[in-house]
Structures are given as C-alpha cells and as structure tokens.
Amino acid sequence: MADASAYVKTNAEIQVYDDDVRAEDVAGQWQLMWWRFKRHKVAVIAGICVLFIYLVGIFAEFLSPMDPNDHHTRYTYAPPQNVDLFHDGQWLPHVKGYQVEIDQFTLRRTFVTDEEKIIPIGLFVKGDEYKMWGLIPWDRHLIGPLNPRDPFYLWGADRLGRDMLSRVIHGARVSMSIGLVGVAISLVLGIILGGISGYFGGWIDNAIQRIIEFLKSIPTIPLWMGLAAAIPLTWEPLYVYFAITVLISLIGWTGLAREVRGKVISMKGDDFVIAARLDGLRTNKIITRHLVPSFLSHIIAQTTLAIPDMILSETALSFLGIGLQPPIVSWGVLLKEAQNINAVATAPWLMIPGLAVVFAVLTLNFLGDGMRDAADPYSHH
C-alpha cells in the first residue's frame, strides 16, 4: 500500500484551487436569472417591446395626437396620411390635407390627397387639453399638427372621424392593464389558495382542488356572458372595467393555483425544507424564506405567459359586445368596429387594433418563454 504519511491528514486538508472570487460565486438567484435571461436574445427583444407597449399605455394622453373620442364627421373614414420631412427642398415636416370627391353615381365620398394643402406638424405641440392620468392638466402632445384644427390622421380615421392612432394608443392602456391587473389578482389568489392546498394537504387541499375543477369545467364564454350581463348598465365605465377584470381573473387563478400547489408539494419533501424545519424554523418562516423564493420565479414566468390569455379574453368579450363598452377604448372595443365587412373593405386601417393585439400577445409570449427558461438558474449546475 501507499505510504500513508505522504498524505495530508489534518482538517485543513481541503485545498482550494481558485482564490479569485468569481462574480458567479456570490450571485444570488435573481442575478443568475438575469444573466441567463440575457442570453435569450429573442426574449430580450420581446421584453423591450413589451416595455415599449406598457410605456405607450402609461403615457397615452401625451403620446396620442388627439383626444380618442374627438369626432369630426368631415373626416369619416379618412385614410392614413404620409409624413413628409421636406417641402421644396426645405426642412418642413408636414402631412398633406384631404380633398373630398363625391362619386356622381354612387354618391360615395372618397378622400384624395390635396397636394396643395400643407399641414405642418411638429413635436411637443399644443393640442387638445387633457388631464395626465386624470390628474395633471396639460395640452402638449408628442406629435401633432401645429394648428390643432388641421386634420392629422396617421393611421386613418374611423366611422366618426376619430383618430385611429390615438384610439389604439389609448386602447393599449386599457387592454394591457387589464392583463396586468387580472394577472395580479390571479397571482394573489393562486399563490394563497395553491400554497394552502399544497402545504397543508388533507381535506382543505381536496376542497380547493374540487373548486378548481368545477371552475375549469364551466365553459368560459357562456359564463362570462352570464356574468357580464349581470353588470348593471348604469355603472360607470371604471367600475365596468374592474368588474370585467375580476371576471376574467376568476378563471385565470385556477391554473396558477395548480402550478403553485405542484411546486409546493414537490418542495415540501425536499431535504432543504426538512433541514429548515429541523433548524427550528416555524412554518410561516419556512414558507416565506424557503418556499416562496423557490417557486416565485417560476410563477412570475407563468404569470407573464398568462397575461396574453387575459388580453385575448378581454378582446374576445369586448368584440362580442359583452365586455367593455364605449366610451372606454380598448383593443377589443376597437375591433368591434371592424366587425362590418363593408367597413373593413373601405377602411382596412380599422384592423390595426388587431395587429396591436397580435404584437402584444406574441411579444409577451416570447418574453414569458425566456423568463421560464431562466426561472431555474440551478438546473444545469
């Protein structure tokens, strides 16, 4: 046998082979997740897009050229204008005005660009007065005609001559926030009920699971229709908005609760949770210190993936006319305008809110996918 004395025999025999502190060694879960998320290029781009959409929603009043409900019957179904930066070789950002031609036989009004009529536009122009977030009175708009009375329809106008761009921007606020608020409600319900269900088990778990199964078994559209019909017509738009949000999240929480329950059950038996119990940690501490941080990242990723569902639900409800009602502007409400084939044929820009929905749903899904992949930074170690 080998010469035993040649081997180190003390407690300090552990040998360290790298002395430099690598950033990774002292990085916590969120830092590791961020690093991992950053590697997912598509998700990063999607994340920037989502951020952009939400910023648009937040600063809707300022970003929209005019009041979304301001109607001008003269410009019914006016087509989108092009922005030109130069006029006669001189710097002059402008759009062209409209000329209306009436067809002698059909009496249909068609808009043609009036090459003579120059409408100068600018940034931070004075326009319709509004209250930022319903609080701060202001009248500046990011972009608009220098003369507020001039027509300015970058994305065209609708049946009442309202600016589509402004309406889509305001729709972003409502539609995107419904997703967010709905998911927040689902998240709270899901974590609490799913957590209780998973951690305590027994009859309480049984009861919660049966409720979830019951809720999931009800066809959603008829349920929503029934509940939406119960919302009093006299309610203020803001109340209707919240009522619809609650309705949508009523179903949404069930999936999250199951997710949380599964995570909790699988982790409850994990050694590190047993270790925490043997350390003398009390149940509430074990949950807040060990369990919640362990599944929170997964749940946030799942939540991101749930927002598109919420947005689509709102769109579907409003499209069917049982969700939000004008004068609230949401993408679903806007799409309802595009129900009429005739209208779409003459004014295809009425479909723009649909593109906005697709864009928002896709970017949220890409973002959620990236977050889900990053949610467990320890899986490859």
């Binding site: 046998m1 080998a2 010469d3 040649a6 081997y7 180190v8 552990i14 040998q15 082979y17």
Partner: protein, 358 residues
C-alpha cells in the same frame, strides 16, 4: 495464454462544446479489452468513464462529439471496424449496437419501456437481431429470464417493469443485453442503485453468464469492491484520462500511479482500518473547465514536483510487461526528480518525451 483484443481504444477524445467553454470529458483515453475478460474502468465523478462508454456505443449525448482517436472493435476472425469513424446514425453503427456491443445502465428503467411487458421487450430485442419466429423468440426469452434467476419466468413475461423490484428489473436488463449474444457488454454502474445483497447476486450472475457466453465486458464503476469481485483488468481514470491500466491483482498489490494508490488507500477495509484514519486524498476534484496544467492530478498529488508535474503532460508509459502508467515518475528524463521512488517502480522503458506547456 494468449490474449486477443476485442476492443482497442486509442487516444480517444470526446469533447463537449458547452457555453462556458470546451469540456474535454474524454481527453486521450487508451485502453484494451481482451476477449472473454472484464475490464473495469474505475474513477470518480467527472473522470469521463461514462462518456468513454457512450463513445464506444457511438451514442455521445449532445453537445458532445468524438473528435479524435480510434475505437477498434475486432470480430472473431481478426477483422476490425473503427467505431469512432462511423456515423452514429448509420446503418452499420446500428447493426453493431445491440448485436455486437450491448449496454446495461445503472438505472434499469432507462432501458426498459414502462408501457410494454418485459416479455414483449425481450422478444422484440431478440427478433431485431436474430431471424427467428415469434414463437421461438418467446421460448428463448423465457429461457433467458429463467437463466437470470427470475422465478416463474413464463408468468413474468406478462409483467410490466414497475411491477418488479429493482434487482429483478436489472436481471431483465441483463437478460435483454445477453439475448442478442453481443461480443462486448458495457455495464455502467450496474449495481450502484441496488442493495448490497442484490448487488452480490447480480455480480455473481454476470460472472457466470460471462463465462457461459464468452462475452467480454467493460464494467464502469466507482466501487473498488466491485472491481475486486469481478474484474480481470482495471483501467483507472482521472479527469478525462486513463492514468493506469493493468491486471486486477497487480493493481491491488502494486499500483503505480499516485492516484490509484490513493484511491485504494482511501476505502475502508473490513477489519483493517477500524479506529484508524483513512488515507484521504487532499483537495477536491477540479471542475472540468478548470483542469490543471500538466498532470491533471498534480494539484492533489503527494508526490507532485513543482516545475515538472504542473508543466509537463505525462505520457501513458509501459512500465511493466502488462502495466501502463501515466506519471512523470516513470517517464524517461523525469525520474530523477522523484527522490522517493513510488512503490513498485520499475525501470522506465523507452518513450518519447512529454510535451511541455509554455
């Protein structure tokens, strides 16, 4: 007694292109399996023993790839085929897998389908490699199950894997591996997941069957007790390299490489080490991305010499009639550095000088 090789691995390189860098999981492994013998490949986690086995099957998991060396598989007539040069998906490779080289895993469920009866699975395996009717295959399967010691084999044909204990499942896997009469059996930690009583039975069974079928075997294990039980030859691996190969008796009595000797010294021995301290190897196994320069063991080696072991990569040197070691203490031009001769040191034979890192 003349030994004819059934498998010769020469300078095998299997690398993994991970995001953090290139992991040389197998980095210049050479070893030989003789016909009818068992070669035990011993090593700790990350030494590349399993990847070596996967390379022989030409089933290296992604993103791994065989990037160099040869794996020559000989048939009984002396003809050979280089597995490393074959496309993993080629018909030729598929014909070799199962028919000539079969594999047994640590966890029997990885090679058993949970949704088919074991009878179906063995019959399918037999018919894939032998031109027999279903009836004949079934009869053969029952004989196989009986042979590996499964009680009531005819009834057990209709059982699903989950209805059996771990030991019984491993017997089924062995029956499947043997039913195709492979020349070479690769067993990757076949008894690690089993209890000691079951392990003894399975090892016994494998020895018997090997003698019956003249099968050669590569036994991947970390357990020197298992090696002592069944191996003829032993290859010791450390961090992607074979550091020593010799027959099992020589290894247990006259191991040369400091790592092999440390490994042998670090296992408790019945009735010998009670109340004493074990001779531990200092330090931890380096991360595969953080491999030491020179001899990969130099950071933990009690004999390591500064300036030599941490700079020069030792070659695998023939140190005896049947003994290969990868250590500078046996390499020409370096032996004089080592004032204390390792035990069992023989005269270093001729070799090309080691490559120095600059």
């Amino acid at each position: 007694m003349t030994k004819t090789p059934v498998l010769e691995i020469r300078d095998l390189q299997t690398h993994f292109g991970a995001r953090e860098g290139l992991i040389k999981a197998v980095d210049g492994v050479s070893m030989t399996v003789n016909r009818g013998e068992t070669l035990a490949v011993v090593g700790e986690s990350g030494c590349g023993k399993s990847i070596t086995a996967w390379s022989v099957m030409n089933l290296v998991p992604k993103p791994g790839k065989i990037v160099g060396g040869s794996i020559n598989l000989y048939d009984r007539n002396g003809g050979s085929v280089d597995i490393a040069a074959l496309d993993p998906k080629s018909a030729e490779m598929r014909a070799i897998r199962g028919a000539r080289v079969a594999m047994i895993f640590q966890e029997p469920m990885t090679s058993l389908s949970p949704v088919h009866t074991i009878g179906n699975q063995i019959v399918e395996m037999i018919r894939l490699h032998q031109p027999v009717t279903k009836k004949e295959a079934e009869a053969q399967a029952v004989r196989m199950l009986d042979r590996v010691g499964i009680p009531k084999p005819t009834e057990r044909m209709a059982a699903y894997p989950f209805q059996m204990s771990g030991g019984m499942r491993q017997r089924v896997v062995i029956a499947m591996a043997l039913s195709c009469n492979a020349d070479l059996l690769i067993a990757d930690e076949p008894t690690t997941a089993l209890d000691v009583t079951t392990q003894a039975n399975i090892l016994e069974l494998m020895k018997e069957l090997q003698a019956e079928h003249h099968t050669s075997m590569i036994l991947i294990t970390h357990d020197l007790g298992v090696v002592a039980e069944v191996a003829d030859e032993v290859a010791v691996m450390y961090l992607g390299r074979a550091v020593e190969q010799t027959d099992v008796f020589t290894l247990f009595d006259h191991a040369q490489h400091p790592y092999s000797r440390a490994l042998l010294g670090s296992i408790p021995e019945l009735g010998k080490t009670r109340g004493q301290r074990l001779t531990a190897i200092r330090g931890m196994i380096p991360h595969p991305l953080n491999r030491p320069l020179g001899c990969t063991f130099n950071t933990r080696c009690p004999m390591a010499i500064k300036g030599a072991c941490d700079a020069v990569e030792p070659d695998l040197i023939q140190t005896g009639p049947h003994h290969h070691t990868r250590c500078l203490a046996y390499q020409n031009g370096y032996t004089h550095h080592f004032d204390k001769k390792p035990e069992g040191a023989m005269r270093p034979s001729e070799t090309i000088g080691g490559r120095a890192h600059v």
